[in-house]
Every structure is written in structure tokens, then in C-alpha cells.
Amino acid sequence: MAEYEKILLKNMEQPGYSGSLADYEQAGGYQAFRKVLNDMQPDQVIEEVKKSGLRGRGGAGFPTGVKWGFIPKDHPGPRYLCCNADESEPGTFKDRQLMERDPHQMLEGMAITCFAIGAETSYVYIRGEFRLGAKILEKAVQEAKAAGYLGGNVLGTGRTINIHVHAGAGAYICGEETALLESLEGKRGMPRFKPPFPATHGLYQKPTVVNNVETMANIPHIINRGGEWFAGIGSPPKSCGTRIFCLSGHVKRPGNYEVPMGIPFREFIYDVGGGMRSDKPLKAFIPGGASAPFLTPDHLDVKMDFEAVAMAGSMLGSGGVTVMEEGTSMVWAALRLMEFFYHESCGKCTPCREGSSWMTQILQRIWNKRGRTGDLEMLDELCRNIAGRTVCAFGEAEVGPIQSTLKYFRHEYEALIREAEATMPRSKEIPVMTH
């Protein structure tokens, strides 16, 4: 099996590594920050990150350096950085590991980013359920402050860089960057329409960069070893660097694995992940978190990079790879995900709010052998009327599972409906969900 150099997980895989400031410094931590403060201008930092080809690791995959470049230079400020630690995509658990096991890596990345974009105040918006992670981060922030890496006059340069840890309260939608900003401002976490974009009108309508935890964790390494070095790893020019992919489902060794982008799914699932857990073959897999459309065994040779997965009709997304073996009902899988989306829909816009409820009810009926002819056409039409009509990408996300399972496994739906029509008396045609 191929051995890949670990960059992000390197420290935490050393035996005895505690994640403390002392350990982090011993492993070479905060050198990049010193380099940036002493030898570099903010513009140079942005250039270096642009050169690296780093793309956001949260799910959208937007080029990070380009995003930083959108912050207007002539704005009186203040400017903000928000680190999106609201990891809630089902099947994704990489940020949690990064925060709990090596918090300073991400904090150093944040400090460098603040320098680059001219922000004095930054926030880590961490999902409320990560209570341990928040405690660890809080402690790390205090350590960094005591050592002079954060606070007023960082490392004697006269600059102020502060990081505040802010806990969410259990809403998936607050991982959407504008909903995150609303929640951070103390309001109900509902997305804003774009444009305007956070780069010009973000937190408190000031220029703001929102970046994922893993994205931040990459920054010190890019500074230390250069953007060119980073761009040489993975699948340049469009998908550079490594990613921590989260493998889950019916495999022998589920977990977080850091591999260069571009290795095929087959290698990831079978070599790195140890393959299927039993003798049942692979039936389907989700390549990038619950929002990503399902893929089939035909796609096992697709490369794990942004372009290849998009060409295959799905998305690399958050990097959560969930594997399903033969025997898994695809209708059940779609229903399970749909129930998640129904539960998490913020309710702001009509198509997602009503559509998620409607589609979940149809799926529940179908799964419970109460489906009807016309249900599948209804699902198709509902999906068409939701995607592209919503305030945020949640609309596209929630139709992903249904559309892709209908595409590849329509026969399963049809079989359940046939069974329903044959066995269910008309008088018992009662919907199942009671909210």
C-alpha cells in the first residue's frame, strides 16, 4: 500500500503528542507565523496562498487565496476572520480531530490569515455539540495569548490579533457561511442572500473571510514550505495538496485519512480503508458528505479531486466518504438523509422548507410500503422546483440523495411502490409522518 506523507495529521500521530503549545512549538510550530510577521507583507502572504492552489476544505472548494484577495483594500474596517468549525455534514469528522488533537495548527493558520487580510478580531464558530473541542481550543487560545502569539502587540510587533471561540447551538445550517455570520451576530441562524458576499459585507456588514478548519490548518505549512511545494502535491493545477478524507460505512477501517488529492476511490476505500467489512460487495458510496449525490461501483476509478468527481456527477464536498454494501436499501439511505435535511432546514425559503417536508413524507410512505403511482414523478418534479430556487445551497444539497438514488436505483423505488399497491387496501392509504 502506498505511503503518503502526512502534513496535517503529522504532529498528532507522533506518540505522546498532547497538542499543547509546548509540544506544538517543539514540532516547529509558530515558525510560519514568525516568518510572516518578520519577513513578509500581507500581499505576499496572499500571493503565496494563491500560488499554492489551496481550495476551501469545507465543501464548496473555493480557491482560498482568491477569496482573501476579495477583501477591499481601501475599506476603513474593521475586518474579520471567521473559522467555520461547525462541522455538521453527516459522514464528516475531520475538523473535530484537527481541533481536539492539534488545536494550535489551526490557530496558527488563523493568526497568519488575520495578518494577511488585516483583521484584528477573529472567531472560531464551533458547533455547540463539540464541547470538548471548544474547551481544548479555549485552552489553546489562552496558551497562545500567554506566549504572545495572540492578543495586543503579538510578538512585539504592535499588531493586535485576537481569536474568540464561539459555540453554536445545534443547527446544521449555521455551517453555511452567511447563516454562520448571522448566528455569530446573535441573530437567528438563517442564510443571507448573495450578493453581497461576506468579503465585502460579512460580519456586522464588514469585510469578512470565512474559512474551514482544515483550510486554516494548511496555512502554516504553505508558509513554511512554500506555495509551489503545496501545488506540487495531489492533482495540480485544480486540486492541490492533501485532504483528510473521512471514511465511514461498511468498511473494515473507518476513520480519518490524510492522502494527496487525486488518488482513485478504489485505492482509498480498499487499500487505505481496508476494503468492505464483509464479503458483500460495494453497492454505492457517497463521495463527499451527505450533500453529495451517490455514486456506484462504476465510479470506483474516479480520482478523488474536485474536477473528476464533478464530472462524474457528484462533488468532492466535505470529503466524507460513506460506503454502502450490497443489501443496503437505497430508498432507506435516501430517506435517512432526507430526514436529516428536513430536520435541519432553517425554514427561511419556501421551496426548501415545504419541499423537504413534502419529499420526506413521500419517501417515508414509499419505504413503509404505502407508496403510490405518481410518487416518483412527484419527487422528480419537487427536486426540479427546489434546486436553483433557494437562498442557499441547502436546496441543492437536499435533492442530491433523492435525485442520485432515483437515477441509479429507480428499480428499488418502483419495487416498493408495486408492493404497496398490491398489498395496501385503498382505505388504509394513510401518510405516516406525524412531524
Binding site: A171, R188, M378, N385, G388, P431
Partner: protein, 893 residues
């Protein structure tokens, strides 16, 4: 009126094939409306920032990949927009309606919105007749929400207009969406019943029947209602209202979006207070007192008696033994005919009106300094001001719609607000204007004079003076500056608790302003020294060179709906209709010629003067129209003994008030809902009042009664109809000509100003520019009797809707002040001073400063006894709203 100096950049675009040019920044949906393309929408509203949540307004825009929400997309040069000509957009609308109707109940037969519902209208236009939703609808249990506002959350379409209106326009934030997804419902922000300003804004703005009025619940269907546009009869804001009546019965009141000076916004009084006119206690027949009881009689008998007695008293004691008092609630026509009757038929100038209670301080100050009796600014200037100073206004409770203009200026347009108010910043159930201030100077109700001097001193100390004006009037500038410099910051601090820095920062903000409006309200106008304080505020505008600048000015807030009109129509005896002084021979001549009657030579008398004269037996008869001085004035004014001495008291009224009960004759008058006429609002804008229901019982419009009386007194002064009166007024006084959509603010007169800064200012400079002597003992509380948002005088106590929100008086304290004295919500306390004592329950309010207690004037029957009485030396305005009191906790009942 201030106008934007820069020309707006225009953008040309095409919508459904129609080309148009609109200012840059216009939203596509607004541009569409301007060319007659109505884009369906739920969540968009011109008063609110776009939310783009309903997705109903999706349109097709060339070169943009997806359908775009036209409510959140600004126009761009050359844009090609397709709305009704786009099949994609039409299908999107159909699907949005399918989605909304999925969970919408079939409530139309029992829903008050049915017939005026956006969802009904759009469904009719866009959807098929059958729904394809064959699942379970989500159902909310109906919960009691509040006494006046009802919610039925099954009908909600989650457009969030109510939440956004309450937040962005009202600044109350009483409503919030609770729950997620399809389980989102609108509830009070906090796990309790709705307790808010009850402005009715959420009811008006809800596109469906999710939020409705409980007051008129189930009483009507919209197509059964007859609509009458009129003006509210409560406060000086003068909001456009539409009476909705059915079978001569008042069903509800609302205001058309975008119309009137209020732009379609209302307050609790306007929206829920209309039942006053239909209260069962309304007088329906004239009454004559026989012995100790009132006998109902016919109009002829009553009028004959009144006419006869007045003629008798005139013959025996002279015309000046008769006095008149008229309410600023009456229409301009009523007041004009009254003063014409009193001057021209009875033959006396002894008339006064409710203007005397405080509004006169504002008007008189404006006249004295800038030669106008109206504002030199309008609500539009308040909205477009860059700096606003509010002094003693308590604006949310006294003039809520003017308050909305202040909120709009600050929240939507970034104006800087400086407040000098007897309030603390605090979040409460109603909005609190000082929360929006950039600099708030919190004072006690007795601290306004010192605070105003402090602000003036800070302006002078920091040289924020207008150099040009200073050069032209050096004596005035030097005199004022010297007096201000003579005041010590220590003394100012001692009296207000505010350090010099607070004043200096506020002065900086004020001085930097280019379009500055000062609003002054009853906290100053009705407080001892109110006239002097108002004059000092005009000095502030003079010193900073703002008084002649367009868009700048002093705006005294009128309390009653037609106080401004009462002044303009000559309701205060020493002022003739049209604003000229009684002592002006040319004005008297012209009027006398026009009337064909002589104007009496004797001077006018104020109400305080009439009280004194009555006590001395010099006033034998009093004709009171709509006023209730026994209830308005405290016993310390001597009103009781005065009225006892009056031989012949006639009250023309809606109800048998305390004063009317003392009368010999009571004449039933019609309310503002039952007659035509005009009101002049606080801006000086004249608006039409229209009859919505027939006069109750045998009541008559006030002017008709005066006219009939004149006939009885053999000196007929007859009018065919209200229009004829209006015509007479307009022909006499050019300033009354405008009945257009917006007022024409008065122009300050430079010769008046010149006269003031050379000679006139010296008259009372010394008293105005010295610090008041303060002798407060620490265990004393400053009691302020003032207006509540939910009431207006005693008039509103006949409105059953308003009584459901506030039906009794409590003495309101800051929670810490209460705790210090060992009392809590609901405890009773004995409040006393040298004038008397009273027992009242306690209420807690965080916005009330410590050391202060507030009692609503509408329930002050007992509390009035504690109020001392004094009169302004120049304007004769009586001051009786503030008292120093002791508190004593009583055992819990």
C-alpha cells in the same frame, strides 16, 4: 424642505418588453412596478430591507444562469428582465404557491383575511384548482397571543414581514420566528404572551390571515365594509386612517400603505382606539339641570335657555363676564366658528383652548424668534436629517409616528441622535428612543433646563458657533456666551449628574450636523420654565447658524390632534385666526370687515386668568367645548372653587365628564368620526376629516351648535355646510390653503430674527440663562405625571380596545429604586407631599431613571392632588406635571 444636491445616476433596463430609466440602486421589483409590471411577492415590502425568502418574485434575467429574486436584485444598465413573459418564471411561481398551499389550511370561510388576502389573489392567478399535496399538513395548536392581536399559525407563510417590521420599523422586536423548517411559528420574543406597542403594524403587514385583530374578529367580510378616509383624532401626528364601517357601525380602522404623513403606519391609539365614538355612555340628548338632576330635553329648549342666559349675563355684567374654552380635539371649522361666535356674537375675546396646556409654549417661541407659528421643517426633514436632538419628548408615548420618523432617520439613514430625556437606555416591551441615541443625556424631569444650558455652554466653550452670524450680531453672541461661561460645570454636574464631557461630546455631534432638527415635547413644554427652555433651544439653532438653513429647525410636538389648528383658528383669545395678535389693529380691521361684525376691544384671557377671575366673581358664565378642566387640572389650580362660582356653566361634550356634571346645560356633540372638517397636525399640515358614521343619538357637530345658538341670540351666523366654513377660512388666511399630500413648511422670517437678536432677546435673558435652584432631599422621588402610549387624555378611556392593554394607573419605578425601598411589582405604596397623599400600586420599568417615578396622566384622579401649580410669566401656560413626593411602603394586601 431639504433636497439632495447630487443628481442620481440613472439606469435603463427593459422589463417584459417595456423600457424604463430608474435611479441606480432601485430594485428590479420596484422598477417593474413603475412600468406597471406587478411581480407577485409575499416577503418584499418597501418599508423593509429585502429578505428574498418567499421566492415568489423570481424573474428571468438575461445572461444570469438562474432565476433571480427581483426583490433583492438591483437594476443594471441594459438588463433585460422577463416576468409575466417568462414561462420559467411563471412555473416557478406556480411551484412556490404549490409549496405554500401544501401546509396552508382551508380556512378561507373562517379567516378574516379572506377577500383581502395575497395568497388567495395569487392562487387565483397562478395555480391549478387541485393541489397535488396528499400528505399530512403540519398543524399548530392555536394559542392565546394577546388581548388585541390574534395569531393562527397554520396560515403563516413564514414571510417574516411581521418580525422584520417590528424590528426594523418599530424597533420593538416583540416577535420572533421560533422553531425550524415547517415547524417555524411566529411567537413573542420570549416565552410569554405578546406585550408590545400594539401598533397593529404586524396585523396590517401580514399578507395572509396568520395575524389578525382580535378587536374586530369575525365581525365582517372585507367586501361588506364601507371605507372612509379620515384623520386620527388622538395625537398631533395626524395619521391618515381609513374607517371601515358596516351598517353605520365602526368595525375597524387601518391605514393605507404609503399614504398620509404616517406612510400607512399607526399606533395603538389609532389602530385599536376607535371605539370611543361608539361608547354606550355617549350623550345622545341635550340635558338641562333641574334641581340636582339632569333632564333630557329637545335641542330648541336647550339652545333657547343657553341663548337667553348668555344674553342676560351680557346685559347685566358685560360681555367679558362670559368666557369660552374649546378643545384642540375639535376640527378647524368647529374652532373657527366658536371663536367667531364668542367674539362676534357674545362680544368677548375671553377664549382659550387646550393649546394653553403646553403647545402654546412652542408656537409662541417660534413666533417670537422666527416669526412663524408653524414648523419650518416637516416629517420629511426629520427623516432626511443627519442630526437630531430630542429634548423632553418621550416621543414613543406622546407622538409615536413622529417617533417613527426619528427611528427611520437613525436606523435606515444613519442619522446621529442626541437625546435629553428623563429615560434610561433599556430594553422593554415598547421601544425606547434613547436606545438609538449616539449620545444620551439622562436627566430627571426637573433637570431639563440645566441640561439645555449645559449643551449650550458646551457649544460655546468648544467654539461651535456660526462665524457669519456671530459677526452680524455680536452683542447677542457676546451676551449669551458671557452668561453661559458664567455657569460652572460643577453646578451643572450637581444638578444633572452629568459630567461636562457628556455635554461636550453631544455638542460636537450637534455642531457637526448639516441638517439638524430639534424636537421638543411635553417634558419641556409642560414643565415649569417650559417657555424659557424652548427659547433656549431656538438660541441653540441661532448660535450654530442653523435657523435659516433649509431642513433645519425647531419642532415642538403638539399633543392633541388639532392643537396646532386650535391656535391657527384663533382658539387662544389673544391671537386672532390666522395667527395675528389681537393687538394688531390692521389684522382686527380686516377680520372685522370680513365678518361684518366688530371685534371686541378688550384683551383676551388665558384659562389660568379665567380661573382667577371666576374665583373673584368676575366671570359669570363659561362655555366649555370638549374640555374637562376639573379632570385635567390639579386641585391646586383652584379650578374647583372657580367653577363653583360660575353662575352659568354650559358644557358641549361627547360624555358626561366631571366638568359636565357641574354644568347647568349639557349639549351633545359629534365626534370626529361623525362629521366632516379638517385637522391641522403638528407639522402645520391641514388634512380632511370625513364623516364615517352618522352622529350618535341626537348629537351635532360643534360648529352647527354654535351657529344655532347665534340664531337663538338674534345674531345669526349661519353656514350651509362645512365646506362653506372652510372656504371662508381659506379666503381670509392664505396659510390655510394647502390640502395637498405634504405640508409646505413655513419660512423663518429674517426680520423677526433680526428683531430678536438685537432687542427682544434681552427681555428675559437673565432668567433663562441662570441655573434653577434645586432643593431635593435624597429620600424624595420626583414624580412625573405623563402620557402613556396607549392613551390620550381621558378621551381614550372610553376605548374598549385600549383598556384591554392598560386600564389603570400604577406608579412606575426603576426595579433597583423599588428594591431599595423594599417594594416590588404589585405592592401598594403611600405617596405623599405637603399637598396630600394617595395610595397606589407599584409597577416596575427599567427605562425610568432612579429617583424618578412615572404615573400615567390618564388615571390621575387621585394622584393629581399631589401636584403643585404654577403659571408661566410670559405664556400663562399652567405647569403641574411634576411633584416631589415621599414614598411609604404599605403592608402587603
Amino acid at each position: 424642505m431639504a433636497t439632495q444636491a447630487t443628481t442620481k445616476e440613472m439606469v435603463t433596463l427593459t422589463i417584459d418588453g417595456k423600457s424604463t430609466s430608474v435611479p441606480k440602486g432601485t430594485l428590479v421589483i420596484e422598477a417593474a412596478r413603475q412600468v406597471g409590471v406587478m411581480v407577485p411577492h409575499f416577503c418584499y415590502h418597501p418599508k423593509l430591507s429585502p429578505d428574498a425568502n418567499c421566492r415568489m418574485c423570481l424573474v428571468e434575467i438575461e445572461k444570469m444562469p438562474r432565476l433571480q429574486t427581483s426583490c433583492s436584485t438591483p437594476v443594471a444598465e441594459g438588463m433585460v428582465v422577463k416576468s409575466s413573459t417568462s414561462t420559467q418564471a411563471q412555473e416557478a411561481r406556480k411551484s412556490v404557491l404549490d409549496f405554500i398551499l401544501a401546509n396552508h389550511p382551508l380556512d378561507c370561510p373562517v379567516c378574516d383575511q379572506g377577500g383581502r388576502c395575497d395568497l388567495q389573489d395569487f392562487s387565483h392567478e397562478y395555480t391549478a384548482t387541485t393541489s397535488r399535496f396528499k400528505e399530512l399538513k403540519r398543524v399548530f395548536q392555536k394559542e392565546y397571543f394577546s388581548p388585541l392581536i390574534e395569531t393562527q399559525m397554520n396560515r403563516c407563510v413564514q414571510c417574516l414581514r411581521c418580525v422584520r417590521y417590528c424590528d426594523q420599523v418599530m424597533d420593538v422586536k416583540a416577535l420572533a420566528p421560533v422553531g425550524r423548517g415547517t415547524l417555524t411559528e411566529i411567537k413573542a420574543f420570549g416565552a410569554h404572551e405578546l406585550d408590545c406597542e400594539f401598533c397593529g403594524g404586524c396585523v396590517q403587514i401580514c399578507p395572509v390571515g396568520a395575524i389578525t385583530s382580535r378587536l374586530s374578529m369575525y365581525e365582517f367580510r372585507p367586501w361588506m365594509l364601507k371605507r372612509t378616509d379620515s384623520v386620527c383624532g388622538y395625537c398631533g401626528d395626524g395619521c391618515q386612517i381609513t374607517f371601515q364601517t358596516k351598517n353605520n357601525d365602526l368595525i375597524e380602522v387601518n391605514s393605507t400603505q404609503g399614504s398620509g404623513r404616517n406612510n400607512g403606519d399607526l399606533c395603538a391609539r389609532g389602530y385599536f382606539g376607535y371605539h370611543v365614538s361608539e361608547h354606550p355612555d355617549r350623550l345622545t340628548l341635550p340635558l338641562i339641570k333641574k334641581g340636582n338632576e339632569f333632564q333630557p330635553v329637545q335641542w330648541e329648549d336647550a339652545l333657547e335657555l343657553v341663548g337667553q342666559r348668555l344674553l342676560d349675563i351680557k346685559a347685566k355684567h358685560g360681555a367679558d363676564a362670559i368666557g369660552g374654552l374649546i378643545s384642540g380635539r375639535c376640527t378647524n371649522e368647529d374652532i373657527y366658528v366658536f371663536q367667531k361666535f364668542m367674539r362676534g356674537v357674545v362680544g368677548t375675546n375671553r377664549i382659550d383652548s387646550s393649546v394653553r396646556y403646553g403647545h402654546l409654549n412652542g408656537v409662541h417661541a417660534l413666533q417670537r424668534v422666527q416669526g412663524t407659528y408653524r414648523w419650518s421643517v416637516s416629517f420629511d426633514d426629520i427623516v432626511s436629517a443627519d442630526t437630531l436632538l430630542l429634548v423632553g419628548t418621550n416621543i414613543t408615548e406622546t407622538n409615536p409616528i413622529t417617533g417613527l420618523k426619528v427611528k427611520e432617520a437613525v436606523k435606515r439613514r444613519g442619522a446621529k441622535l442626541v437625546t435629553i430625556e428623563a429615560l434610561e437606555t433599556a430594553i422593554g416591551t415598547i421601544s425606547n428612543i434613547v436606545n438609538l441615541a449616539q449620545h444620551h443625556l439622562g436627566v430627571k424631569p426637573t433637570g431639563y433646563a440645566t441640561a439645555i444650558l449645559g449643551l449650550l455652554k458646551a457649544v460655546v466653550d468648544q467654539g461651535l458657533l456660526d462665524g457669519e452670524f456671530q459677526a452680524k450680531s455680536p452683542a447677542y453672541f457676546n451676551d449669551v456666551s458671557a452668561r453661559l461661561q458664567a455657569l460652572s460645570w460643577d453646578s451643572i454636574h450637581g444638578q444633572t449628574g452629568l459630567a461636562s464631557d457628556a455635554f461636550k461630546q453631544a455638542a460636537q455631534v450637534f455642531g457637526r450636523g448639516k441638517e439638524v432638527v430639534i424636537l421638543v415635547g411635553p417634558g419641556v413644554l409642560r414643565a415649569a420654565g417650559g417657555f424659557g427652555m424652548t427659547m433656549n433651544l431656538l438660541d441653540l439653532l441661532l448660535l450654530t447658524g442653523k435657523i435659516m438653513t433649509p431642513g433645519c429647525g425647531l419642532a415642538p410636538l403638539a399633543e392633541e390632534n388639532n392643537d396646532q389648528g386650535a391656535f391657527e383658528m384663533g382658539g387662544t383669545g389673544a391671537v386672532l385666526p390666522g395667527g395675528a395678535s389681537l393687538g394688531d389693529p390692521e389684522a382686527r380691521n380686516n377680520l372685522s370687515q370680513a365678518w361684518g361684525r366688530p371685534i371686541p376691544e378688550t384683551p383676551g384671557s388665558s384659562l389660568p386668568q379665567m380661573i382667577e377671575d371666576a374665583q373673584q366673581g368676575k366671570l359669570k358664565a363659561l362655555f366649555i367645548v370638549g374640555e374637562n378642566p376639573l379632570s385635567s387640572l390639579p386641585p391646586s389650580s383652584g379650578i374647583h372653587s372657580a367653577l363653583e362660582k360660575v353662575e352659568f356653566l354650559v358644557c358641549q361634550e361627547l360624555f358626561l365628564t366631571e366638568t359636565a356634571q357641574q354644568a347647568q346645560v349639557v349639549l351633545p356633540a359629534s365626534s370626529y368620526a361623525e362629521k366632516d372638517g379638517t385637522f391641522t397636525n403638528t407639522e402645520g399640515h391641514i388634512q380632511s376629516v370625513r364623516k364615517a358614521i352618522d352622529p350618535v343619538g341626537d348629537s351635532r357637530p360643534d360648529w352647527e351648535i354654535f351657529s344655532a345658538l347665534s340664531v337663538m341670540m338674534n345674531d345669526p351666523m349661519e353656514y350651509e355646510d362645512v365646506k362653506q366654513i372652510g372656504k371662508e377660512i381659506r379666503n381670509l388666511f392664505p396659510g390655510t390653503r394647502t390640502l395637498g399630500p405634504a405640508p409646505l413648511p413655513a419660512q423663518p422670517d429674517s426680520s423677526s430674527i433680526a428683531r430678536y437678536v438685537t432687542v427682544d432677546y434681552q427681555r428675559d435673558m437673565a432668567t433663562r440663562y441662570q441655573l434653577p435652584t434645586n432643593t431635593t432631599e435624597t429620600e424624595e422621588i420626583t414624580l412625573q405625571v405623563s402620557q402613556s402610549l396607549f392613551h390620550s387624555g381621558k378621551f381614550s378611556r372610553k376605548a374598549k380596545g385600549l383598556l384591554q392593554v392598560e386600564d389603570r394607573g400604577k406608579i412606575y419605578l426603576h426595579p433597583e429604586e423599588a428594591a431599595r425601598r423594599g417594594v416590588g411589582e404589585g405592592d401598594t405604596v403611600k405617596v405623599s407631599n405637603s399637598l396630600g397623599e394617595v395610595i397606589v400600586p407599584v409597577g416596575l420599568r427599567e427605562r425610568i431613571p432612579q429617583g424618578v417615578a412615572v404615573f400615567p396622566e390618564h388615571f390621575d384622579e387621585e394622584v393629581r392632588r399631589l401636584l403643585p401649580y404654577s403659571i408661566d410669566p410670559e405664556t400663562q401656560v399652567p405647569y403641574y406635571k411634576v411633584a416631589r413626593v415621599h414614598f411609604e411602603k404599605l403592608a402587603r394586601q
